[in-house]
């Protein structure tokens, strides 16, 4: 293989890494604010894909435009889910939210199976799916992966700004530090948690639509997306949004290189890099920085 071909492979890995970072960002946000490990995260991504499928089919709009509807729909689902169900599971024990979101994962998978069958679906984005341009001699980039990557960077930047520049972000960080004192500041933590889940599901909506445009999806693919999200979070380091982006990119590049060596190695290579980083640097590559 030539150096150019390797460059191509790595570039594709970087671009898919943006998608993984979006899987991871919502997961990391929820864990950071309320110490909740959302096992249903991957299935919620798939749910967002099906919501987008319904929206695009009903209204006849293209998938990227459908985000204008899918994002708020998912955010509302997140808010209601948190206030109606998940808030009741939070406490000193980490196990109840784990079990409840595990159950939620099964319910979402089977609910989607009932409604949409096990057939593979895909969102059709039209000509931008196949448009490519030459970056340099021998290196080609697809328009859609490029859009996907820049959207991911924008999402991470927006989350970072929200966390460190807004009153809502301040409330997230304060609640994460000390729930009881946050209440003394006049913060209703039930509402703060619900806002965090709404935000997480808004990011999930964007990730879900890009996932569904990029490849086929069916009700069973959620758990694998959850794993990619977890791996990106751990590689990047908890509590650092830019680290999460880096984690997603490292995972994407590892998978791309693995697939190039042997197509069967795509997922394995990602898992190996994840395990290596977990073993050598358990706090992640870019752990939380103060201030």
């Amino acid at each position: 293989m030539t150096a150019m071909e390797w460059l191509n492979v790595i570039l594709q890995g970087v671009l898919i890494g943006g998608l993984y970072a979006m899987f991871a960002a919502g997961l990391s946000l929820i864990f950071g604010v309320m110490r909740l490990v959302n096992i249903a995260h991957g299935d919620l991504i798939v749910l967002a894909a099906y919501v987008a499928l319904m929206v695009t089919q009903t209204l006849g709009i293209d998938p990227l435009t459908s985000l204008l509807l899918v994002t708020p729909i998912m955010a509302v689902i997140g808010y209601v889910l948190q206030r109606g169900l998940l808030n009741r599971t939070l406490g000193d024990d980490l196990l109840p939210p784990l079990l409840v979101t595990f159950g939620l994962s099964i319910i979402i998978q089977n609910g989607l199976l009932e409604l949409f069958t096990a057939d593979s679906r895909k969102l059709q984005a039209g000509s931008i799916e196949i448009e490519t341009f030459q970056l340099m001699q021998g290196v080609w980039v697809g328009l859609l992966p490029l859009i996907q990557f820049f959207v991911a960077v924008a999402v991470i930047a927006a989350l970072q700004a929200l966390f460190y520049r807004t009153a809502l972000g301040r409330a997230f960080r304060a609640t994460s530090d000390d729930q009881a004192v946050a209440q003394l500041m006049g913060l209703d933590t039930r509402h703060v948690f619900a806002m965090a889940m709404a935000l997480s599901l808004a990011v999930i909506a964007i990730a879900g639509v890009f996932l569904a445009v990029r490849a086929n999806f069916d009700p069973a693919i959620g758990p694998a997306r959850l794993i990619f999200g977890f791996e990106a979070v751990i590689i990047g380091g908890l509590g650092n949004m830019w680290g999460t982006l880096a984690g997603g990119v490292i995972l994407g590049v590892s998978q791309a290189i693995g697939a190039q060596i042997d197509p069967g190695w795509q997922l394995l290579a990602g898992h190996i890099v994840f395990l290596a980083i977990l073993a050598l640097r358990p706090q992640g590559l870019f752990p939380k920085v103060s201030g």
Partner: protein, 235 residues
């Protein structure tokens, strides 16, 4: 002066699970009054403040703030009504800067005299260090920030839990020297202290808790050292 007290507790019993921490506690505080609650470790002082602030809910008894019941209210609702707690051990938010800690104190958006710049006037050292993370402050500065954070909600009643705890005497004196300026803005305070001398100087009225019961109360000036030590130690 209004004829009803700002805060009135009637026969309050509070529990941690099966353990009763407060027995039949009645207390009242008028507008613009400073009341001290003293007592040994485990006498129920912090429990009393947590119950008023809504962090825990008494099993029996009434708590009236400005005539309205607050017994079942959540902490965030109690703040909105005008009661702010400076918690024991400061408990600033470590992930937030000094200024963010103060700003979040003003989250409830109650109107009143206290703003960021007024708090900085009261504690100028905080203005110099506003962009530092809260754990970078010294203990005394952290206490100032915790008081400033509570003031930012423009409370009518400020609850201070052990503000002298773990601080050098000179720092304690410095902080207590600024309390009159705070009271002068028209709020009332309940000061919980183990440092009796400090408490007696600052307060007009004193309650002494002993094993969850009020063992003694009276005007700070009229209580004798003997009666206090009897109530304090139960001897």
């Amino acid at each position: 002066m209004p004829d009803r007290p700002l805060l009135e507790l009637r026969a309050v019993d509070a529990y941690y699970g099966d353990f009763q921490a407060l027995f039949d506690v009645s207390l009242q505080i008028d507008a613009e009054q400073v009341v001290a609650v003293i007592g040994a470790n485990g006498a129920g002082k912090s429990t009393l403040l947590k119950s008023i602030a809504g962090l825990m809910h008494p099993r029996r008894g009434d708590m009236l703030f400005d005539g309205a019941p607050i017994s079942g209210a959540a902490a965030f609702e109690v703040v909105a009504r005008g009661i702010a707690l400076v918690p024991e051990g400061r408990r600033l938010f470590p992930s937030l800067t000094v200024e963010e800690n103060l700003l979040i104190g003003g989250q409830s958006r109650r109107a009143g005299p206290w703003t960021l710049s007024r708090v900085y006037d009261l504690f100028p050292v905080l203005a110099e260090r506003r962009h530092l993370p809260a754990p970078a402050l010294s203990g005394g500065q952290q206490q100032m920030a915790a008081i400033g954070r509570a003031l930012m909600s423009n409370p009518r009643l400020l609850l201070c839990d052990e503000i002298s705890l773990g601080l050098a005497p000179i720092v304690v004196r410095d902080i207590y020297a600024r309390l009159p300026a705070i009271v002068a803005e028209g709020l009332s305070m309940i000061i919980v202290e183990q440092d009796i001398v400090q408490a007696l100087q600052a307060a007009a009225h004193v309650y002494c808790l002993q094993e969850g019961r009020i063992a003694l109360q009276g005007r700070a000036r009229e209580l004798t050292r003997e009666s206090i030590s009897a109530a304090y130690f139960g001897v």
